[in-house]
């Protein structure tokens, strides 16, 4: 144990990162878990997607639960966790933001927390768009970063939208117009505002309202309908520039990094919940006149999953700590957490389906919500493989 580590172990936050949950985090998680337990049970989420007796074309329904989101965002203050108190936020850190993501992952909650309160908020905080940050922090409006859901930290600045210049009718100064199409955007269907990276000289970030003419959102039949994607077409949509050049780059990278770190925690929560559901089921389900959970074959696999969770938790907490502490190790920490937690969540959800047997293969059981969320989230913000590949540079392990 280095001195730094030892001292940090005694006094959390001093040099070596604290990987535990603070009391405040535990309180926040507890409140959120109560709320979700009452208003976002798996069967509630399933119901929003259309059961056999209900809507048969869930692609045409709105999966986001805006009422629930108001409670989470406003009542619990989760929308403004990352925002300083003086900007109407909670003045918490990325640790708390990650803890919230964990709880939402446990519930596969169909709310735009990740896209709005983490990704978009981080972008806006980076560029210093005070007014919009305040609106988001209060939970009055939600925003989404208009990039493909699969975009990873380190991705090139996307140039699929471009500035088409002010229209002749644009009398007000500073109004720009955007054209182009962005495919597969998460959390945008429920968003009031879009933060749009756009080509131009120089390239920049723009804010576009979703209610205006010239913005068309087309819902996508998504693998994970609890976080439905959409394609967005901009046809001379009025836009407000908020950053350009290097500042826009920085804001985009910060937003994608925050998204990758937060979704790692979300995956951790999801994996934890899958294990919990599976353990509960195999304790109850009897075959061969024994609970199936008494068979060592299953027990050892579940034990291995739990072992994986101890590792995933350390990785996710380290990534959250690095972002909270503005630690230069953050890129590496995010690559570790995103790849490990993503793989583990997929494995946990797959085991959840398998160990539930036939019932886990049905639509009526919520296991598939977790499977689809886990698999989709393992691609969002960069696949596990891509994040591991980035270690070649980050950990000096070059390829052939």
């Amino acid at each position: 144990m280095s001195i730094a580590e030892a001292e940090a172990a005694g006094k959390p936050g001093e040099r070596a990162p604290d990987l535990l949950y603070s009391e405040a985090e535990r309180d926040l998680a507890g409140s959120l878990r109560s709320l979700l337990g009452a208003r976002c049970r798996p069967e509630d989420v399933l119901g929003r997607l259309g059961g056999p007796g209900q809507a048969d074309r869930p692609g045409e329904t709105e999966p986001y639960d805006t009422v629930l989101w108001k409670a989470i965002a406003g009542d619990l203050g989760c929308a403004g966790l990352l925002v300083p108190e003086e900007q109407d936020g909670a003045g918490a850190s990325f640790r708390e933001a990650a803890t919230v993501a964990e709880e939402l992952g446990r519930a596969v909650a169909p709310v735009p927390y990740l896209g709005s309160a983490v990704v978009a908020t981080t972008a806006l905080l980076t560029v210093g768009d005070d007014l919009t940050v305040r609106e988001l922090a209060r939970g009055d409006v939600t925003a989404a970063l208009a990039v493909g859901s699969e975009s990873a930290p380190g991705a090139a600045f996307p140039l699929t939208a471009r500035v088409s210049g002010p229209k002749s009718s644009d009398s007000r100064a500073g109004v720009h117009r955007l054209r182009g199409r962005v495919r597969g955007v998460a959390d945008a269907l429920s968003a009031d505002l879009l933060i749009v990276p756009s080509d131009g000289v120089p390239h920049g970030l723009y804010v576009v309202g979703t209610g205006v003419e010239g913005v068309r959102r087309t819902p996508i039949v998504s693998l994970d309908m609890t976080r439905q994607l959409c394609d967005i077409d901009f046809e001379d949509a009025p836009a407000r520039a908020i950053a350009s050049g290097a500042e826009a780059d920085r804001a985009l990278q910060a937003a994608l990094s925050a998204g990758a770190a937060a979704i790692a925690s979300e995956q951790l929560g999801l994996a934890d919940k899958c294990l919990e559901m599976t353990v509960a089921y195999v304790k109850e389900r009897r075959q061969f006149a024994r609970p199936v959970g008494s068979f060592q074959g299953l027990k050892h696999r579940l034990a291995d999953l739990w072992v994986g969770l101890t590792q995933a938790r350390a990785a996710a907490r380290y990534a959250a700590a690095c972002l909270a502490d503005v630690d230069s190790d953050a890129p590496l920490a995010i690559a570790l957490a995103k790849s490990y937690c993503g793989d583990l969540a997929v494995r946990a959800a797959e085991e959840c389906v398998q160990m539930h047997g036939g019932i886990g293969f049905t639509w009526e059981h919520p296991a598939h919500l977790y499977l689809k969320r886990a698999k989709a989230a393992s691609i969002a913000f960069g696949t596990s493989d891509a994040h591991r590949a980035s270690l070649a540079r980050l950990a000096d392990l070059p390829g052939a």
């Binding site: 056999p52 699969e150 075959q287 024994r290 047997g357 036939g358 293969f361 691609i379 969002a380």
Partner: protein, 419 residues
């Protein structure tokens, strides 16, 4: 029992070593070819109405050539079936749509052949082969999946010697199209669970049979729940002796597993083909990690294909062996890994799904859909037809001779088991 797409193998692969191969075992590929050509010369494959043609083909012993004469076959080596199929296909003859009656061809037929009476074989095999009568399988119950022998559907003998059956079955594909079902029910609750079962053919049009769709995580409903309420089954439709139901059902399940693992296909013919094509078509998606996985999966899939070929060679050489269970375990794992890989390889496209609509396909089709569908549907491959866990138990105990777990349900009458 979940019994999906892997049963769409051609009928020539879909059955196990027959109990009885009276003669014809010396027939060669040339002999079969000659007989088909003679048959085709006499029966125009294009102008003859489809059902007439299929009836004639059955009656000529060219339906399943390894079945006995008089039951659609010639008692020929099973490996020669493909010669007949190929000749008929080349002549543009109508086929019996084997994919539409996979359970009938793959599981009911060999069971009827092995355990049915002469009268039952005569009654059921011909319309089964021609596809006039679709069959389904009523084995699994909500409370009896892996532990199939604990099933609770009751068959009570009435004074006339026939049976009155009540219970609930689940994971029944084709139930909504089937005329007949193979059914296992409990005829004696007072003996240990394996000993109190009997095996029946159930007329699905009988009063008291209700079929409800069962939606699965892919969005569609391949399967059904079947509710059986006081349904009358003539004793003449019992297959095997009273109390022998477990033995007969075990034979049926072995057929299923051999069918799954022994499937024939060319290199890149299975799910790996789609992944390899996507790999070749999208160089921009390649990374070292994905490359390694692509190579590993390709190698494993090709080896699994070779193992399937070897399994069929063993069957043809009369060395059946237990490799069918291995093949099914590998099939399930590879389908799951390959489709999971495919979704990741697809990246942004992998986040889309084609259709969540609740539909009722006759059978699953891995290849008409996107990678997301394959990924989800493949999750069933390690559950349906015997979970991979149950198959590992079978391998461990029956192949390796490892001791069984301490059994708490041994020698206990079924009615006294904890549930």
């Amino acid at each position: 029992m979940l019994d999906g797409p892997e049963l769409n193998a051609p009928v020539s692969d879909g059955s196990v070593p027959d109990g009885s191969v009276p003669d014809g075992s010396a027939l060669t590929a040339g002999d079969i070819r000659d007989r088909v050509r003679q048959f085709l010369a006499a029966t125009n494959p294009v102008s003859t109405p489809r059902q007439d043609f299929l009836h004639a083909r059955f009656d000529a012993g060219l339906a399943w050539v390894h079945y006995p004469p008089g039951l659609g076959g010639l008692g020929a080596p099973r490996a020669l079936q493909v010669v007949a199929d190929t000749e008929f296909a080349a002549a543009g003859a109508p086929d019996n749509d084997p994919g539409g009656n996979a359970i009938g061809l793959g599981m009911a037929a060999p069971t009827i052949l092995a355990f049915g009476s002469g009268k039952q074989r005569k009654r059921w095999l011909r319309p089964l082969w021609t596809g006039e009568e679709i069959w389904c399988q009523l084995f699994s119950e909500p409370g009896a999946g892996s532990d199939l022998a604990s099933l609770g559907t009751r068959a009570v003998r009435d004074p006339g010697g026939d049976w009155v059956v009540s219970g609930q079955k689940v994971w029944t594909s084709l139930a909504h199209q089937a005329r007949w079902a193979i059914l296992v029910a409990r005829t004696d609750p007072d003996v240990p669970k394996h000993r109190g079962l009997s095996y029946f053919a159930l007329d699905m049009t009988a009063p008291g049979v209700e079929v409800r769709p069962l939606r699965q995580l892919t969005g569609e409903a391949e399967f059904n729940e079947v509710f059986i309420t006081d349904v009358h089954i003539p004793d003449a439709d019992r297959i095997g002796e009273v109390g022998d139901g477990w033995k007969v059902a075990t034979g049926t399940l072995m057929n299923e597993r051999v069918a799954i693992g022994g499937m024939s296909m060319p290199r890149e013919g299975g799910m790996i083909g789609g992944a390899a094509r996507a790999w070749r078509e999208h160089p921009e998606r390649r990374t070292p990690g994905l490359h390694d996985r692509m190579l590993r999966l390709w190698a494993e899939a090709e080896i699994a294909r070779l193992a399937g070929l070897r399994l069929r060679q063993q069957l043809a050489a009369g060395q059946p062996g237990p490799e069918g269970s291995a093949a099914k375990i590998v099939f399930a794992r590879l389908n799951q890994e390959i489709s999971g890989f495919e979704v990741e390889l697809a990246g942004a496209e992998g986040l889309r799904y084609d259709d969540w609509t609740m539909r009722r396909p006759a059978h699953a089709d891995f290849f008409g859909r996107g990678p997301g569908y394959r990924y989800l549907r493949a999750k069933g491959n390690s559950i349906e037809g015997g979970t991979s866990e149950i198959l590992r138990n079978i391998v461990a105990e029956r192949v390796l001779g490892l001791p069984s777990e301490p059994r708490v349900d041994k020698d206990v009458p079924w009615k006294d088991l904890p549930r």
